[in-house]
């Protein structure tokens, strides 16, 4: 069985965590096959390509021979991922030999792609209709502006320069989902972010639409009338997020995908997607952030006290109070530390550690202070009729993994609330 658990870190991971039935349906769309293939680990891609023209199953043993000895762990990760995505199907024959074969729908779609090359999902509108389109730079600026405006509104709605059209109810869905991880937000949709799009519409439809969108060319205009009703509804929300820009001509209206949309299906390694950092943390808990972005300022405000705001510099202090504020909002010390490390200014990013140890340690200690008491809902039993019944009950609780505490003299027992029901049944049986 597959061993890797997929944690939705980006859009493709989220797609991968869909239930099997949905995945099988998705593979009927060639764009999704392509996007999924590109999201795979390098070795897994290689296997798919290698097996693309092979119709029969291949035994696990012979696949093992494809890799060198020190690649065994990578091999396992690749095969597990392929199984999890149902690109590989596993069969075990009578001699207990495992063999794999490619998902036939996936396989035939990719074969077609190999012969025909990449096909674009739609024809861009000719420039005679669209007149002047925004340049790529303008589009980038637009996308980032939209995204930052939206993020600002999420974090602190009073700071947003202009209210976006996103209704307050969808905003709430977003806030609920993102609250715990919002300080790590990079401009990309997360699983929780995705839920907001998911209003009575089949997620599979949306995923295929988003993936199709990612194969459009950045900066080209595409006619909106080519979309289905659901897609037309969705694309307005996507425009608010900066994934597309909507424009209206005399007769037609069209959408222009931005980089945010076309990067959706891209899964890059961390190093290539990392942006330039801007934060310097000193050992005296002072923090200097070289940034003009309001969003950055608001993010820092989540866990620190802003002291000065200069045109290109934000000076802040990390204090116990400011951190408690963050912890209350559900942000963990680990998240803050990793945010500081990932966004370390190039001057300090080279150093190890990039954030002073006394600061990170203190942050962890303050967090640990809050977690001295752990609360577990529980039930207490006493007045057992006999010692046998009491001991039987203790044993039962231990087996059910719900045992918390016992006092054998007074014959009292405390168990976790989740096994209370089973416990009652057990006790009534033993009477």
């Amino acid at each position: 069985m597959p061993q890797v658990r997929i944690i939705a870190k980006n859009f493709m991971d989220m797609v991968a965590s869909l239930p099997a039935m949905k995945l099988d349906n998705l593979y009927s769309n060639a764009f999704i096959c392509e996007a999924i293939l590109r999201s795979l680990p390098p070795l897994a891609k290689k296997y798919v390509l290698q097996m693309l023209c092979i119709d029969g199953p291949i035994s696990a043993k012979s696949m093992q021979e494809w890799v060198l000895a020190d690649g065994a762990s990578k091999h396992k990760v690749a095969v597990d991922r392929l199984l999890q995505l149902r690109i590989f199907t596993e069969t075990v024959d009578r001699k207990r030999e495992t063999s794999y074969r490619l998902n036939p729908v996936f396989q035939s779609n990719l074969q077609k792609l190999l012969v025909s090359g990449e096909v674009l999902p739609g024809e861009p509108l000719p420039s005679s209709i669209t007149a002047r389109l925004p340049s790529l730079e303008e589009l980038d600026v637009f996308a980032i502006e939209q995204w930052e405006c939206f993020m600002l509104q999420l974090i602190n709605s009073s700071q947003a320069e202009r209210p976006s059209n996103i209704s307050s109810s969808t905003m709430k869905v977003f806030q609920r989902g993102l609250l715990t991880q919002r300080d790590k937000e990079a401009p990309r949709l997360t699983e929780s972010g995705f839920q907001f799009l998911d209003r009575g519409v089949d997620p599979a439809d949306l995923i295929s639409f988003l993936l199709e969108l990612s194969f459009h060319v950045t900066g080209e205009a595409y006619n909106i009338s080519s979309l289905t009703d659901i897609q037309r509804e969705t694309i307005k929300d996507l425009a608010d997020l900066g994934l597309v820009k909507l424009q209206q001509g005399r007769k037609e209206s069209w959408f222009i995908p931005s980089k945010l949309a076309t990067n959706l299906s891209m899964s890059l390694t961390d190093s290539s997607s990392r942006k330039q950092g801007f934060v310097v943390v000193e050992t005296n808990f002072r923090m200097y952030a070289y940034s003009t972005s309001k969003l950055h300022c608001e993010i820092l405000r989540l866990f620190s006290r802003i002291e000065y705001q200069l045109p290109n510099l934000i000076v802040a202090a990390i204090t116990k109070e400011s951190l408690y504020n963050a912890f209350e909002n559900g942000i963990t010390a680990e998240q803050i530390i990793s945010f500081l490390q990932q966004n370390a200014h190039p001057r300090v990013a080279e150093r190890i550690p990039s954030v002073p140890e006394n600061v990170t340690d203190q942050m962890r200690l303050w967090e640990a202070d809050l977690n001295r008491v752990e609360m577990i809902p529980a039930h207490c039993y006493d007045e057992f009729p006999s010692r046998e019944v009491f001991e039987g009950a203790c044993e039962f609780a231990r087996e059910g993994n719900g045992f918390l505490w016992e006092d054998s003299k007074k014959m009292r027992l405390i168990v976790k609330a989740e096994i209370h029901k089973n416990m009652r049944e057990y006790l009534s049986r033993s009477k």
Binding site: E34, L37, R38, P42, L43, K45, K46, L49, Q50, L52, C53, E65, W66, V67, L68, D70, G71, K74, H75, L110, L113, L114, V115, S116, G117, E118, V119, L120, E123, V217, S265, M266, L268, T269, S271, S272
Partner: protein, 236 residues
């Protein structure tokens, strides 16, 4: 000479340069028709572009007398179907290839009086230059060789640069060879079992090595750096 140490690659993005030998002397005697060969190669190019959004492919045709770019994925932006049926990559490449072959043939007629000896010698120097600079910049040269004998030149080139030299036993299944061996990105090469050289002929090349069929030579490298070898390679 020891083979080049391999660079460490963090991701699987690659730039693939394909050198196609279009020498009519070889293809007129080959068991695999040139058209079949081309369709294998086209699928191979498509598969490289399919694997990663950032992958790039350039194809250079080397003829009897000259060589030229016939495809560059970073230039041809119009992807998708053209003229209704033929995919853009195919039609672009085939058109350029045809133009190239015609030009090469004409050059051949013009150049026949001058004699080939001098060009052969300068060709040899250029090839060795290309190989050594590929070694220096750690760009592996892979060779897929369809001729009857082994090519000492390409064996050495692949060995020195840490690439793969392969002579497919069944040319009809060329795509399988290409996708299994040559489509491997440099990142995965560190832990994949690839064909090893069985014995490289280290003798100095004889002059007639140029007449051997040298259908496909591919080199891949980290796409983020400029390739200093392209210029040299094109004077092969």
């Amino acid at each position: 000479m020891a083979s080049a140490p391999s660079k460490l690659y963090a991701d699987d993005v690659s730039l693939l340069m394909v050198l196609l030998d279009t020498n009519p002397l070889f293809w007129s005697t080959s068991s695999l028709p040139f058209s079949n060969f081309l369709s294998h190669v086209l699928s191979f190019l498509n598969s490289i572009l399919l694997l990663n959004q950032l992958n790039q492919v350039a194809v250079i045709a080397t003829g009897y007398n000259s060589c030229d770019y016939i495809f560059d994925s970073s230039v041809s932006t119009s992807r998708g179907l053209e003229n209704g049926r033929m995919p853009a990559l195919c039609s672009n490449l085939l058109q350029k290839l045809e133009e190239f072959v015609v030009r090469d043939e004409q050059l051949c007629k013009e150049g026949s009086e001058n004699g080939l000896a001098s060009s052969l010698l300068s060709g040899y120097v250029a090839i060795m230059n290309a190989i050594f600079s590929a070694q220096r910049s750690m760009v592996p040269i892979d060779s897929c060789y369809l001729g009857s004998n082994n090519s000492a030149f390409l064996q050495q080139a692949s060995y020195i640069t840490g690439g793969v030299y392969l002579k497919p036993q069944q040319p009809d299944g060329l795509f399988q060879y290409l996708s299994t061996v040559f489509a491997t990105d440099l990142h995965s090469r560190t832990f994949l079992q690839l064909p090893k050289s069985v014995g490289v002929d280290f003798r100095a090349s004889k002059e007639d090595s140029r007449k051997d069929g040298r259908p496909l030579e591919s080199r891949r490298k980290d796409s983020r750096k400029n390739d200093p070898n392209i210029q040299l390679a094109s004077s092969v």
